[in-house]
């Protein structure tokens, strides 16, 4: 999430372009971010969004590499609990929400559009058309390596 983001002019995303959540995009409106975030939480954890503890930084350890990423409690709950619940991503989940939930669950580790298609069960071309354009949905943006 700290990776540099360059202007998208002169850049044409492909199926192999990696996307991520650009938290800076959300940074302008914290209230809106929290409301949206809480919509992805399970009922058990929804209450913590508006508490002080929500901002507590936790060292989340990635299962596949051992890498540590500092995340707040809300994200930690999402990664370690809510995203593991059945129904977290279903065919009925809106495409943008589904992609967003994938990144919430993996600690915002950038993924290619092909990989996102596999994880969400949506056509890669549709994801490319939706998230590879000039309009930014929910902070989901291509990452320039």
């Amino acid at each position: 999430m700290n990776a540099p983001v360059r202007p998208l002019r002169l850049f044409r995303p492909t199926l192999d372009t990696r996307l991520h959540i650009d938290y800076d995009w959300w940074g302008r409106n914290d209230r809106e971010w929290r409301v949206y975030l809480s919509s992805h939480l399970c009922p058990e954890h929804r209450a913590i969004v508006d508490t002080e503890a929500a901002d507590e930084q936790i060292d989340w350890v990635q299962a596949d590499t051992g890498e540590v990423r500092p995340v707040d409690r809300v994200q930690h709950a999402l990664i370690t609990h809510c995203s593991q619940q059945p129904g977290y991503i279903t065919p009925q989940t809106a495409l943008v929400d589904a992609v967003f939930r994938v990144f919430l669950a993996n600690g915002n580790t950038p993924m290619t559009i092909r990989e996102l298609a596999e994880r969400t069960g949506r056509p890669a071309e549709t994801i490319l058309r939706t998230l590879g354009g000039t309009r930014v949905y929910k902070g989901l943006r291509p990452l320039l390596d």
Partner: protein, 529 residues
């Protein structure tokens, strides 16, 4: 081995050898464990170590580079390799406490990598990467440690065993090894105490722990090491005998062991007689299988049997033993090293338990004298042997039946010490091999015959001819079955079927008339004389 890939099958088969670095690893393993280990346990540690070395070699790792695993602790300036990140390298530049209520205490290391600084968990007990075998880091492994151990584990363990036997710095007790230098000293006083404890217990058998309880060894010694050290001291002292089955250490006072265990009964002693197997008739193997002599050459069965029926022969009947044939050996407890193994017999009919001894070097099982007497068995009786429910227990069953009076071949000894045979009507209450059954008129007389043939120059020739001619008188056809001859000859001299049949095959006066029966040709005998 150094040029061969450790994960390749060819590295673990017959060509597997122990290198100096393997020995160093084993030594370190024993030092770290602080307790003796069996070679199987060493193989289980050595195989993954070899694969780790191979992985390091393939991954081109330097000696100073450490493979990252979350369970380990790292310090600033440690050079790390990250298998889960395509073998990316990095240097630790900082360490801080981790914070995650779900994980408990752990550390976070800051690592400088090509793409910038990244953080990783350390000193974290539970993590998926902790369980990933390091040998997989090269990503080209052909066989896992489990596969190698499954296919070649016993061979690797045997190779380790052979190598350790050559190394003076290692000691072995009951199949477990330990560095000699680390064994706790056991004083003569301790050993005297152990002797006293065994003496009070009727000689044994007692486990090492039962002896340790009476010894005042220094506190703070690892109990397993103390046990091993005492076992080593007892093993080196001639007063004590280790008599436990494989994996179990039990001690007995040698001087209180039965005489027939300490010294092989003379009747069972076989002094090998050279003969040419090529001379033997082609049906000899069939005869050997039927007789199943402990000094014969019948190979072990491919599969274990639950029950073995054997025919009691005169020497074993007289001294109260069973032959430790390849088939029977599978039913009795065995040992890694102990030449004598003490166990328990149980009578199948009465349930009575009594001690038995496997005397491995001399191939017999001791302890049946009273049992044979109680059952009223004769040589030639069938005895059924099977393993008991409890480990180390062996069930004995005599094939007894309602007694009837039957004609039985009976051996006696004439005034010159020659063996004679007649048919006598005796009460018999057991099933038996009709060709091998016999009775003995006087055991004291048999001893005279034993002494006579022992001093004969051509004892084999004389014994076989004299016994054959005696047996031939007992039936109208004057024929003698090979099994009958074997049974009768063994009354005075221990003789397996090989040299006996070689004698028959090489003498012109013995005619094979079929079905393992022979006839004695008097005219040829006269010519030969």
């Amino acid at each position: 081995m150094t040029e061969r890939q450790a994960s390749a099958p060819s590295a673990w088969g017959e060509s597997f050898t122990i290198t100096p670095s393997d020995l160093e690893f084993i030594n370190n393993l024993l030092l770290e464990e602080g307790v003796p280990l069996a070679c199987e346990a060493m193989a289980q540690a050595l195989v993954p170590e070899r694969l780790r070395q191979e992985a390091r070699r393939r991954a081109n790792l330097t000696v100073s580079q450490k493979i990252y695993q979350p369970k380990n602790r790292y310090q600033v300036n440690d050079d790390l390799v990250f298998p889960a990140m395509g073998l990316a390298r990095g240097k630790v530049v900082g360490v801080r406490p981790g914070h995650n209520p779900d994980l408990g205490a752990f550390e976070v290391i800051l690592v400088r990598m090509d793409g910038g600084n990244r953080e990783f968990a350390a000193n974290l007990a539970v993590h998926h990467l902790n369980d990933v075998p390091l040998e997989t880091i090269s990503g080209t492994e052909e066989l896992s440690a489990e596969e190698i151990l499954s296919r070649w584990g016993s061979g690797v363990a045997q190779t380790i065993e052979r190598e350790l036997e050559q190394q003076e710095e290692f000691l072995r007790i009951a199949g477990r090894w330990f560095p000699r230098s680390l064994v706790v000293p056991i004083s003569p006083g301790h050993l005297n105490l152990a002797e006293a404890v065994l003496d009070v217990g009727g000689g044994g058998p007692l486990p090492t722990q039962a002896l340790l309880e009476h010894l005042d060894l220094p506190v703070g010694i690892n109990p397993r090491l103390a046990s091993f050290s005492l076992e080593y001291a007892l093993q080196e002292d001639e007063r004590f005998d280790e008599v436990g089955p494989s994996g179990v250490v039990m001690w007995f006072l040698k001087r209180l062991e039965p005489e027939g265990v300490r010294t092989p009964p003379a009747l069972l002693n076989y002094h090998p007689i050279p003969y040419a197997p090529a001379q033997l008739p082609e049906w000899f193997q069939e005869l050997e299988r039927e007789i199943e002599d402990e000094w014969g050459s019948v190979p072990p069965p491919e599969q274990d049997e639950k029950e073995v029926t054997l025919t009691l022969t005169f020497p074993h009947w007289k001294v109260g033993t069973l032959p430790l044939t390849p088939r029977l050996a599978r039913l009795f407890p065995t040992a890694y090293q102990a030449p004598r193994v003490r166990f328990e017999f149980q009578d199948a009919q009465t349930g009575r338990a009594f001690p038995g001894w496997v005397v491995r070097p001399h191939r017999y099982v001791f302890g049946l004298a009273d049992w044979i007497g109680e059952k009223g068995l004769l040589p030639g009786a069938y005895v059924r042997v099977r393993q008991g429910q409890e480990s180390g227990q062996v069930i004995l069953e005599a094939a007894t039946r309602r007694p009837t009076r039957e004609w039985i071949r009976t051996a006696s000894v004439d005034g010159e010490g020659r063996l004679k045979f007649t048919m006598q009507k005796l009460s018999v209450g057991f099933e038996y091999d009709e060709l091998m059954v016999l009775a003995v008129a006087s055991l004291a007389d048999v001893d005279r015959a034993v002494a006579r043939y022992a001093h004969e120059k051509d004892w084999l020739l004389r014994l076989v001819v004299e016994v054959f001619r005696e047996l031939a008188k007992l039936n109208p056809q004057s024929t003698v079955h090979s099994r009958t001859l074997y049974s009768a000859v063994n009354v005075v001299r221990r003789l397996p079927p090989g040299p006996l049949m070689a004698e028959l095959a090489s003498r012109p006066y013995f005619d094979h008339v079929g079905d393992l029966y022979y006839r004695f040709d008097e005219s040829r005998w006269v010519e030969a004389r």
